[in-house]
């Protein structure tokens, strides 16, 4: 049984088809990336997974249970944690309190007291390297620190599935490599599945994910192993508006006629 399964989910905003019959499965312990240019429907898909939006059609199944209509605050205790594209810290609270809030209302929920949650928070502060900012108001952190704090807050929820929305946008290559290494480590250490959403930082995608789903205009374009997906001419076309002819020819030669197998 897969951990999370999207079954032909669709979301419309008036006449705009933001997510168009997208299906996706992620197994426990897997790390996949969802890529696609701006406006491809990635964030809407994330919002459907975390419960911010209810899909118009299709189902969201988590550990065999249909959660399509469950509000977000009921999904978090089941084990879905997420970060946001633009960090959303609880600004007036300290870094430690922010992270403790994750522990208090996540999967541990009723099992942990406030004091225990603060202790858990300390562990994740050490893990993401925010020791010097423990008692600072979260609103006063730099954008990169806020991202790290959000990741710590989501991890403190002790999730089974972590949804990371553009965790690396705006970072320099060194920070990206650092973050990629960090994500690989926590995935193994904490035994969680990760769905990372990336707009265009292929450096991160290549280093991070075993599998990539490429979205374009709301629909799934390709769902394949990373190297395969990133060299697919359709993906190249989405990003660059048409792959060079040479590229297409070479690609056909090496991949053969079965190259359409990733089509939705």
């Amino acid at each position: 049984m897969s951990l999370l399964k999207l079954d032909r989910v669709t979301k419309r905003f008036g006449g705009l088809l933001a997510v168009d019959h997208v299906s996706l499965e992620i197994e426990a312990g897997e790390l996949i990336a969802i890529v696609g240019p701006n406006g491809a429907g990635k964030t809407t898909l994330f919002n459907i997974m975390s419960g911010v939006f209810i899909p118009d059609e299709g189902r969201v199944i988590f550990e065999g249970r249909d959660i399509s209509r469950l509000p977000p605050y009921k999904r978090a205790p089941l084990g879905i944690g997420r970060t946001f594209q633009i960090p959303r810290p609880f600004s007036s609270a300290t870094v430690r309190e922010n992270i403790a809030i994750g522990a208090m209302f996540g999967t541990l929920g009723k099992k942990v007291s406030v004091d225990e949650s603060l202790k858990i928070a300390d562990r994740y502060i050490d893990m993401v390297g925010l020791q010097l900012h423990r008692g600072k108001a979260a609103g006063s952190l730099t954008p990169v620190e806020k991202k790290m704090m959000e990741i710590a807050r989501a991890l403190a929820m002790n999730p089974k599935l972590l949804l990371m929305d553009e965790a690396m946008a705006g970072m320099n290559p060194k920070d990206i490599d650092h973050m990629v290494a960090f994500l690989m480590r926590i995935k193994d250490e904490e035994k969680i599945s990760v769905i990372a959403m990336v707009e265009h930082i292929m450096r991160a995608v290549a280093g991070l994910a075993e599998r990539v789903m490429v979205m374009h205009q709301g629909a799934k374009l390709v769902d394949a192993a990373t190297t395969e997906a990133l060299s697919d001419p359709r993906v190249v076309e989405v990003y660059f508006g048409g792959a060079p002819k040479e590229f297409k020819k070479n690609w056909k030669k090496t991949n053969g006629p079965e190259s359409d197998k990733g089509t939705a």
């Binding site: 975390s50 419960g51 911010v52 509000p71 977000p72 605050y73 009921k74 999904r75 978090a76 205790p77 997420r82 946001f84 959303r88 810290p89 609880f90 600004s91 007036s92 609270a93 309190e97 403790a100 809030i101 994750g102 208090m104 209302f105 996540g106 929920g109 007291s113 406030v114 004091d115 807050r153 929820m157």
Partner: protein, 333 residues
């Protein structure tokens, strides 16, 4: 909660201040009325802060809870005055009625209005006090617009002397106790999951939901708690102190505005804030009414603007930043 005494240190300055107010009032001639007024404003701020300060939601109809609390006490006394064996128990019944009525009203208002966000909530609550006032007057319940006067009942139950002490002394002591209790509950919430949930939803409601926080539930908890203290305050500061109740007086929006000023001036969401705000507001209102009678309300507008420009976090909010890292830190919350 497990015993960790340092958690309760922030209550020390609050309780010292309330004790000082009691001692000044009871030992210095002519000071009791002033102290009673200050206690009322502090209690009002302390009660309202549990909702306004902790959730960031503005309830313009807040005075309605004081109003129904006043009616609760009035009804308890007038309906049960003939039961002689009750004695002092009638006051307790009155307070209990105030609590029940404030809870019911806050549930009714909260169930509808708390589904709305921020400014929409504020707009939805504007009419609550006026609506309730016209309901009482129009439906002619609880004597309608004639109100209720129960001086005679109090005299009959307690005798003239005790009844007089009740309204000139014990009602004010009760107000101080309510303020202290509200401060305790505020701190208890701050240190429990409720406080963390309220901080989260105040800062970012959508993010709070995704973190697993049932925001409506926690908003309603804060709303009802705040309303219950308002009901108790109405029952003691308005019904016991002045043994009559008229709808236009107890549903006056003016008190809601005063409560908002006190909370913002002192520091919304802080423990010490409503006390500081209540003292400053009460004292300046008192002295302005002596120095510049009639101007006390006019002068508050510029003062409020200055606060918002210079101390957006309120006086205690600013103070908290100042004492950060010093030994005073654990006493200022």
């Amino acid at each position: 909660m497990r015993a960790d005494p340092t958690k309760y240190y922030p209550l020390i300055p609050v309780y010292v201040a309330y004790l000082a107010m009691f001692l000044i009032g009871s030992n210095m001639t002519g000071m009791w009325q002033l102290m009673a007024m200050l206690a009322f404003y502090c209690a009002l701020g302390q009660a309202f802060n549990i909702f306004l300060g902790m959730t960031g939601y503005v309830d313009f109809g807040y005075v309605a809870f004081l109003g129904v609390g006043t009616y609760g006490m009035a009804l308890g006394i007038t309906k049960l005055a003939h039961v002689e064996e009750l004695g002092i128990g009638i006051i307790i019944i009155g307070l209990a009625l105030a609590v029940v009525m404030a809870t019911l009203l806050s549930l009714a208002v909260g169930a509808v209005a708390l589904r709305l966000r921020g400014a929409y909530f504020a707009i939805a609550t504007i009419g609550v006090n006026e609506g309730f006032r016209y309901f009482i007057e129009g439906a002619k319940i609880w004597n309608g617009s004639e109100g209720m006067i129960f001086t005679a009942e109090l005299n009959q139950i307690f005798g003239r002397e005790t009844a007089s002490a009740l309204s000139t002394f014990w009602a004010d002591v009760l107000v101080l106790i309510i303020a202290a209790a509200a401060a305790f509950v505020t701190l208890y919430y701050m240190k429990s999951k409720i406080g963390y949930a309220l901080t989260a939803l105040r800062e970012d409601e959508d993010a709070a939901k995704v973190m697993g926080i049932h925001v409506t539930k926690y908003k309603i908890i804060a709303f009802i708690t705040s309303a219950v203290f308002a009901g108790l305050l109405g029952a003691s500061a308005w019904a016991l102190k002045t043994p009559y109740v008229f709808p236009p007086e107890v549903f006056e929006i003016h008190y809601t505005v005063e409560a908002i000023i006190i909370v913002l001036l002192g520091g919304a969401g802080t423990l010490l804030g409503p006390l500081v705000g209540g003292l400053i507001y009460g004292l300046s209102k008192y002295y302005l009414s002596i120095v510049l009678p009639g101007f006390q309300l006019l002068i508050f507008a510029p003062i409020i603007i200055l606060i918002i420009v210079f101390f957006p976090e309120g006086i205690v909010g600013m103070l908290k930043n100042r004492v950060k890292g010093t030994a005073l830190e654990q006493y200022v919350l």
